[in-house]
Amino acid sequence: MEREAEVDLARRLMRGDANAFDHFVEHFRAKIFHYSWLMCGQREDAEDVAQDTLLKVFESFDQLSEPERVRPWVFRIARNACLMKRRKSVFAPAKELSLDDFIPAINHQGGHAKLQIADWSGLPDHQLMRSEMKHVLDQAISELPENYKPVLLMRDVEELSTLETAQILDLTEDVVKTRLHRARLAVRQKLDEYLQSGGRALSSHT
């Protein structure tokens, strides 16, 4: 669902249009569940977080002064619910990722520089979500250190802006940019390793 459709649902709920209720719940429940599942790693915790978040959302719906901000507003509540839940459970520790770890090696042969990475050119955009690739991506994202994972989820999966992400996570915009880049590089590297090892099958058909 596009953000405009979400904003429309939020406006209708504010007007007291109960027909928007189930659409809103279904849509955001799935989003929050997926976010918290990746953050907590436990199905039960993720379901609890989704319910706790929606409860808080409806209790305080009249505090949403700008319906245009419904997505970041819901995610801010979800993020806090997730933090509360995770205090009680085990999660991947915070760790700093260094840019140097992701710089690919370059071979200089006959004056030509060649990167030591997989051939991504044969991978059309619409083929990216094949199941094997999705599994690799699942793993790559879930293995991100806990201070990088939410940034990538907010910016690239939920397509929130840098400013919105910074506000949700209590970070500066510069920190969001830095962490996003490193998280992307880490995920890119995992996908690259997969493509170099055996993912050729993904690009050789069609």
Partner: protein, 99 residues
């Protein structure tokens, strides 16, 4: 020497690539970057792999499926919503009375 310089510039491009893909770079930095990338196949190749990574993340939905919402859980949410609406109406009525 030329190769060495190129590598230093490549590192700079490498560190700014996400901001470039997000169109968050200032115009002059962006132009400088494009000028370098235009003549550097390794940077083109790397930028393309990162662009596809981002595209993949945008399409990504975790494989874990969510169970349907239980009846009690839905009731709980609906109650919270109606209570919020009721509170707002009461507030509005209150303000009419005092005017």
């Amino acid at each position: 020497m030329e190769l060495h310089e190129r590598t230093e510039k490549c590192k700079e491009v490498f560190s700014l690539l996400s901001e470039y893909l997000n169109m968050e770079l200032p115009p002059d930095a962006c132009q400088e970057m494009e000028a370098h990338i235009a003549g550097c196949p390794p940077c083109v190749e790397f930028a393309e792999s990162l662009r596809k990574t981002v595209e993949l993340c945008r399409q990504y939905r975790p494989s874990e499926l969510l169970e349907p919402l239980g009846k009690n859980a839905r009731e709980q949410l609906l109650e919270a919503y109606q209570k919020m609406l009721g509170g707002r109406k009461a507030l509005a009525l209150g303000s009419v009375k005092t005017d």
